[in-house]
């Protein structure tokens, strides 16, 4: 029965109802040799909502281990881009690849993409209100996510979790119900969940919103340290923060890539100044 799909040892096969899409997607472009070192790339993705194009034929390549900042005006499409990558929004056109051309993920369900190693922090902090900080982390923790595995499975070891608690500084709030945390703490908790989930690609949407200067700095360090063996994509409006972490910056505007390059260049770029940074 379908439930068995959820068993841990079950291979990453595709939902029957989706396989068609995938096959066709892979058939279309008979693979040119997979560009090595690429963790993730987006090809001519368009997302339109009732005529309005949130993403407009956007193409984007992110190398393994890279730490990429995406900036851009409000409504430029940054979050939508992340929605597309994580399978929350289906692109109207285009494709998204994870590591190899074989993994066209734009049509996969969220949970499968997540299992393939894509983790995400939402723009507005989202945690499990009913559960304690600890349980939130446990739920996010890497490990088998199948029904029966979790029915009979033993509790996993807690080092990583305690470690994470340390990092996000919520150790003494570990038994608080997440619902009652303050905004900033929720932000941290979600970052923590991202850590324990241990993904290959981290998509982080506005991590430092509502954080103080020092916390911002701390977050910057954290993310930079993660980059390298993991790939990190950050969306942020806090230029200070961006300056601290950025290797390469992509500027989105009205669903298109306006400019791409090191931050300094971007900051000179008149168009960027015009639509985003301001005088």
């Amino acid at each position: 029965m379908r439930a068995s799909h959820a068993l841990p040892e079950a291979p990453l096969e595709i939902d029957p109802e989706l396989s068609g899409v995938v096959r066709e997607a892979t058939a279309l472009r008979d693979p040119p040799p997979t560009p090595a070192r690429l963790a993730l790339w987006v090809e001519n993705v368009t997302v339109s909502f009732a005529g309005f194009k949130a993403l407009d034929d956007i193409t984007l390549e992110i190398k393994k281990g890279e730490l990429r900042c995406i900036i851009g005006p409000n409504g430029a499409g940054k979050t939508t881009l992340m929605d597309v990558i994580t399978g929350r929004t289906r692109p109207t056109a285009g494709a998204v690849y994870l590591e190899t051309r074989e993994h066209e993920i734009s049509a996969l369900p969220e949970w499968r993409i997540a299992r393939m190693g894509v983790g995400r922090k939402f723009q507005r902090p989202t945690v499990f209100f009913g559960h304690t900080v600890l349980e939130n982390l446990e739920l996010a923790q890497a490990g088998s996510k199948g029904v029966f595995a979790n029915l009979f499975g033993r509790a996993l070891s807690r080092e990583r979790i305690d470690e994470a608690l340390q990092t996000i500084g919520l150790t003494d709030l570990r038994d608080q119900r997440a619902g009652v945390l303050s905004h900033g703490h929720k932000q941290w908790l979600e970052i923590g969940m991202l850590l324990v989930q241990d993904p290959k690609v981290l998509l982080v949407d506005e991590p430092v919103a509502g954080m103080s200067q020092q916390e911002m700095e701390k977050t910057a360090e954290l993310l930079s340290s993660l980059a390298g063996d993991r790939t990190v994509v950050v969306v942020e409006h806090d230029m200070e923060f961006v300056r601290r972490i950025a290797q390469k910056v992509t500027v989105l505007h009205e669903g298109r890539v306006l400019a791409e390059g090191p931050l300094e260049r971007m900051q000179e770029d008149p168009r960027v100044i015009e639509v985003y940074l301001g005088a």
Binding site: W111, A114, R115, L139, L151
Partner: protein
């Protein structure tokens, strides 16, 4: 062993105080009642009269049913308004068996059930075959609701049906089934349903010993169900279920295939409901489509809500209180009982947000305070 694991254990036990209370309750249901029914002389004040046994048995069935619903509603956030259907299906499976075992004793002295003779059906319809055997019937009582739930749930959850929309669909389902079963042509005895059973496993249903046996069987099942639900909800799976209830999207981003989880809870719940139905029929002696009425499914939700949603004791208490109240009031205040029941519901919602278990929690909290002070 480390703190967290220990905390888990404690949560599983639901606090030692409560677990003692539970143990007592279980003991009372499973041992005390039967003993008091059998041992003391009929006139002694301790005697549990015979007519109470099937009654209590019925309540136990309702309790199982309530637990089943709570598993999907309280813990997974799926309010089913169609659990009456699964209950009834289980009931019919058992009813069909009981009908088959008394072939030749019906009013028409025929091998077929009376209503078939009357509709001058010459042979048993295919879906009645096999019900002569008790194991088969029991299996059906579990499989039919389970299979229905599985297939229905698969489509419903795959198309991301949630909240009231799901509730209404389940309601439509049971409603349609009721109309279908109403029809004589469907082959389940029309609205009279199946009744006038004679014996189960060869034991006369009239013998008080049989009744007691059924009662004990039900009690055991209830306790089993309780432990099953407790295991499920206190396992990590249980936590995922509650997470689905609170933030389904997020949990999917954590890599959980929520459809499978829901499907699991949903199917298990349906199976439990079916089991409850199967135990219910021989004790009340009739199964008919009225069990599938939308209103009776809503009532199940009412029991759960009264007792306390999202807890394991709550539904049991709720089922007992509401139905017990109903049985008592309809005899004692035949014309005013609806007021009493109505007031009960309103009061519970207003003053006991977490249902009856809320009282217990409040008390234990105060007790703890006093102890700490």
């Amino acid at each position: 062993m480390d703190l967290a694991a220990l905390r888990e254990r404690v949560r599983a036990l639901g606090g030692s105080g409560r677990s003692i209370a539970l143990g007592a309750l279980a003991f009372g249901i499973l041992v005390v009642v039967p003993v008091l029914n059998v041992l003391p002389s009929v006139d002694s004040s301790l005697h549990v009269p015979d007519y109470l046994i099937p009654l209590l048995g019925k309540f136990l069935c309702y309790a199982i049913l309530a637990l089943a619903l709570d598993l999907v509603w309280g813990f997974t956030g799926i309010l089913s308004l169609g659990h009456g259907l699964f209950f009834a299906l289980g009931g019919y499976a058992m009813g069909m068996h009981l009908m088959r075992t008394m072939s030749g004793e019906g009013v028409y002295r025929s091998d077929l059930p009376d209503f078939m003779v009357f509709l001058d059906w010459k042979k048993l319809p295919w879906y009645w075959l096999g019900f002569d055997s008790f194991p088969f019937a029991l299996a059906m009582a579990i499989l039919v609701p389970g299979a229905l739930a599985l297939s229905f749930g698969f489509f419903a959850f795959r198309s991301r049906l949630r909240g009231v929309y799901l509730s209404i669909v389940t309601q439509a389902l049971t409603y349609a089934a009721m109309l279908l079963f109403f029809q004589n042509a469907t082959g389940f005895g029309g609205n009279n349903g199946l009744t006038d059973f004679k014996r189960i496993l060869g034991y006369s249903l009239r013998a008080s010993s049989t009744k007691l046996g059924l009662y004990v069987a039900t009690a055991v099942t209830l306790i089993g169900t309780y432990f099953l639900c407790r295991y499920v909800t206190s396992s990590k799976l249980g936590r995922v279920l509650t997470a689905i209830r609170d933030a389904e999207l997020k949990i999917r981003f954590c890599g959980y295939q929520t459809t499978h989880y829901k499907l699991f809870a949903w199917t298990v719940s349906a199976i439990l409901a079916g089991l409850a139905g199967a135990l219910y029929v021989p004790q009340v002696g009739i199964i008919n489509p009225s069990e599938m009425q939308p209103s009776s499914s809503i009532e199940i939700a009412i029991w759960v809500a009264v007792g306390g949603r999202g807890t394991l004791v709550g539904p049991i208490l709720g089922a007992f209180l509401v139905n017990g109240g109903k049985s008592w009031l309809t005899s004692s205040f035949p014309s005013a009982w609806l007021y009493a029941l109505g007031v009960l519901f309103v009061v519970v919602t207003l003053y006991l947000p977490q249902g009856l278990v809320g009282i217990g929690e409040a008390l234990s909290a105060r007790w703890r305070m006093r102890k700490s002070a």
